[in-house]
Amino acid sequence: MASVKFNVNGKSQTVDVVPEMPLLWVLRDVLGMTGTKFGCGAALCGACTVHVEGNAVRSCSTPVQNVSGKNVTTIEGLSTDGSHPVQAAWIELDVPQCGYCQSGQIMQATALLNKNSKPSDADIDEVMRGNICRCGTYQDIRKAIHRASELKAKGGRG
């Protein structure tokens, strides 16, 4: 067991866990933040995507010791009211069906838009292909990313 300190959504957290424990399970089981989802446990589906220092990472395959002293952002940290441009676009276009993969989709899309404010379809495909949706919301996800890009350009924060 080891004490690991890091920031989650701007708040300092110290957890006493085995240092190899993936960030996913620290978030979900230790900190009780269940917005980040378990899908495959092997960085193959993207459901567990969070940001570490602004970069999208698969929390299921990131030992918590790797984020020691770093800033982690989860779906809960995007907004408290759904007003983040990516969430707002998702809500406006009714993207989620079952919804289970959507936290990961939104975090991946947010990371994309932070680096490329006006992505093409090809840019979207390249970055989003690691995020599986079994309900097949892909066409709506693509539309929502373009819409989020517009909302951001209009001054939405993110």
Binding site: T34, K37, G39, D94, R134
Partner: protein, 713 residues
């Protein structure tokens, strides 16, 4: 199709039966339900005698809140929104006042089998849910008339208010709900003229988008209870096997592991968190018995299927002279088709949470079958099912998988060993893929052909596939649907089922038997068309003259796709059409093969699902179902070796990803026919549309799923 339910629908004011008082958190008001029609197909599907029970779906509180108790669980298909639309339209309430919740298991209120399968939600509730809304509205009108002392003919409703047209006085529903609840329930209340619908047929926004976009929707996996332990379960690697012995000493030494226990289902590791439980499980040493199935492999299963088709089968359909007419065939069209086992692979792996205390068992389950989950938990805990409570959570996908409920039994078995402590059982992705109940593998041998003019003379099909559901007269309808119920006017038809069991568990998979059989049937018809030297669209048209709704979607799909119009070099189109779940769906796929690589460029979907309740959700379902079928068409295969599943995660069982998406165009046929389903309408038709397009592009006929690039060489 669901029968007309109007005659047998009885409204019951359950507020008089104690239900209303038992409903938590609502003040005085009106609660209404109805009796399910005796022709409830859902019960029939599960082999239960339909029972008639009063049900309760709406509660109107003094604060104007309209609580909609949704009898269907939510797995993305949208009943929290679409069924509420049916109620709200006839109730004429304020949409923003509706609070939707998923119904608990209650056979008295919600019927003998509560489940969400077979794309039945709208079909089952189209009539009763509107009738419940209309009856509640009539009672509110009556209550207002009595309160004001006026003739109710001068009253109307508007968005949650009763309005006196004589003086424009208004009463909000909440103010008269309690008085309304004391009135007798009127019978045969008239329903709205469809032209007056405010919500039905409109693209009403989903009620669950916001919480899902914020990570706030509680899936089963998200259940957290005070003092809860996390469990994982090591199951027999060969289906049907048992643990002979095990050594847990290393597992118990893993930090965070609390206990290791043997249950009837396997060896469970309980820990402070999921990760510790998973690590403890890795440290287990278990000797398994393989139940005599340790040498079964996929090649052996196929061989067995072939042998079965060489023995007499059970006749599922015979037209004309059946197989005897094969002698009249001038040009033979014979073909053998195969499809593999498939896993459902919903994004949320199976899981379930339970606590046993004070002789009761409480369960939190992401399940498509609450009633079966209750029964499973009762079996696992040894507690009477009347003392088992099921809380339905959101489901991270279902696709038929969650109609099975063994996870509830597994967790109850574990919870029984630690009474008073809540236990969440989490399946890993590998558990989910290797201990699924699968879409059955299937093998079909077609023989048939044409007369000298190119007209079909005969079609015979011998279907070998594992059965599930009911087997009647030797026939599992789940194995032959899509072939034995095809609509083509071929004078001599014979379809035989050859029951072919394996040790691999099988169950419903989105669109069930149609998922493979429509690939077989629609590819085979295409083969006939080409053998006849006819355009596949024209050939189908000629055989569907007596089924106008099939013909209509076929023609519309061809028109929207530009059938026959020039395409870029190397591109080709393929078409398919199907009637399942009470709906009619045609698809046209446009593909190309470049450097041995298949690309699906565009898919046109045309569905006639009768009276459409929410075109936006129907469009979602059309795309969703097609993409689910696309994964199966091009990628999905579960194979067996040494009696066990070889695939374990998305690297060995890949699915369609965003960069492989065709452009999808969905068209819904306007209709006032009784509603059909949409959840499974577009899943079957994509594989044959692609296969037929591949043939048009290359002259190569692919007869085995999935259709991989290697098969194109």
């Amino acid at each position: 199709m669901a029968k007309n339910t109007t005659q047998s629908t009885q409204i019951t004011n359950v507020s008089r039966r104690g239900f209303f008082k038992a409903a938590a958190g609502v003040g005085a008001g009106l609660a209404l339900g109805f009796t399910l029609p005796e022709s409830n197909q859902l019960d029939a599907q599960f082999g239960r005698l339909p029972e008639v029970h009063p049900e309760a779906y709406v509660k109107i509180g003094a604060d104007d809140t309209v609580s909609f108790i949704c009898p269907k669980a939510e797995m993305g298909q949208g009943p929290l929104t679409s069924l509420a639309q049916l109620l709200a339209d006839e109730l004429d309430c304020d949409w923003s006042k509706i609070k939707s919740e998923i119904a608990p298991v209650n056979p008295q209120l919600y019927g003998a089998v509560q489940s969400v399968v077979g794309s039945f939600s709208i079909r089952t509730y189209w009539d009763p849910m509107r009738r419940t809304g209309a009856t509640a509205r009539a009672m509110l009108l009556e209550a207002a008339a009595q309160k004001w002392g006026v003739d109710k003919k001068q009253l109307r409703t508007e968005n949650g208010f009763v309005i006196n047209t004589a003086n424009n006085a208004r009463l909000n529903y909440g103010a008269i709900a309690e008085a309304a609840s004391k009135l007798p329930v009127p019978m045969n209340v008239a329903l709205k003229d469809p032209k007056d619908y405010r919500f039905i047929g409109k693209p009403v926004k989903r009620v669950d988008s916001k919480i899902k976009a914020m990570g706030q929707a509680n899936f089963g996996m998200d259940t957290r209870l005070p003092g809860m332990l996390y469990a994982v379960l090591e199951r027999p690697p060969v289906f049907g096997g048992k643990a002979m012995s095990f050594d847990a000493s290393k597992a118990k030494a893993v930090p965070g592991v609390k206990d290791v226990i043997q249950t009837p289902s396997g060896i469970a590791v309980l820990a402070e968190n999921t990760w510790a439980a998973m690590q403890g499980r890795k440290a287990l040493a278990v000797q398994w018995d393989d139940n005599g199935s340790g040498s079964v492999d996929s090649a052996g299963i196929t061989k067995m299927f072939i042998e079965k088709t060489q023995q007499p089968g059970a006749n599922a359909r015979k037209e004309g002279q059946g197989a005897a007419a094969l002698s009249q065939v001038a040009k033979k069209v014979d073909a053998v088709y195969e499809a593999p086992f498939l896993s459902h692979a919903p994004m949320e792996p199976m899981n379930c949470t339970a606590v046993i205390r004070d002789g009761k068992c409480e369960v939190w389950a992401p399940t498509q079958a609450q009633t079966f989950a209750r029964d499973s938990a009762a079996r696992g805990s040894g507690i009477d099912k009347e003392k088992v409570t099921i809380n339905s959570t959101f489901m991270g996908g279902g696709f038929g998988r969650r109609g099975a409920t063994e996870y509830a039994q597994e967790v109850a078995e574990i919870a029984k060993a630690v009474p008073g402590t809540p236990v969440k059982l989490v399946w890993s992705r590998e558990d989910d893929m290797q201990h699924d109940l699968y879409r059955p593998a299937s093998y079909v041998k077609f023989e048939g052909g044409l007369d000298a003019s190119g007209n079909p003379v005969a079609m015979t099909a011998k279907v070998a596939s594992p059965p599930f559901g009911r087997v009647e007269n030797g026939i599992a309808s789940t194995a032959v649907e899509g072939i034995h119920d095809m609509h083509y006017a071929i004078p001599n038809v014979q379809v035989d089922y050859h029951l072919a069991n394996t040790h691999v568990p099988v169950t419903y998979w989105r669109s069930v038997g149609y998922s493979q059989n429509v690939f077989f049937m629609e590819s085979y018809i295409d083969e006939m068309a080409h053998a006849a030297g006819k355009d596949p669209l024209e050939f189908r048209r000629g055989l569907l003259k007596n089924t106008p709704r099939m013909l209509n979607v076929l023609n519309l799909a061809a028109e929207k796709a530009g059938w026959g119009k020039p395409l870029p070099k190397g591109h080709a189109r393929g078409i398919s059409v199907v009637n399942n779940i009470g709906s009619f769906t045609a698809q046209v796929a446009e593909v190309s093969i470049e450097k041995g690589k298949l690309k699906v460029h565009r898919v046109v979907i045309v569905s006639d699902c009768g009276h459409n309740v929410n075109p936006a959700i129907s469009r979602q379902q059309a795309e969703s179902g097609m993409i689910y079928g696309l994964s199966a068409a091009l990628k999905g295969a579960i194979t067996i070796d040494k009696g066990r599943v070889q695939q374990g995660n998305f690297n060995s069982y890949d699915v369609t990803r965003i960069d492989e998406m065709p452009v999808i165009e969905t068209y819904l046929v306007p209709s006032t026919e009784a509603p059909g389903g949409m959840g499974e309408a577009s899943t079957p038709g994509i594989a044959p549309a692609i296969g037929n397009a591949i043939f048009a592009a290359t002259g190569k006929r692919l007869r085995r799923l999935p259709m991989r690039n290697a098969d194109l060489a």
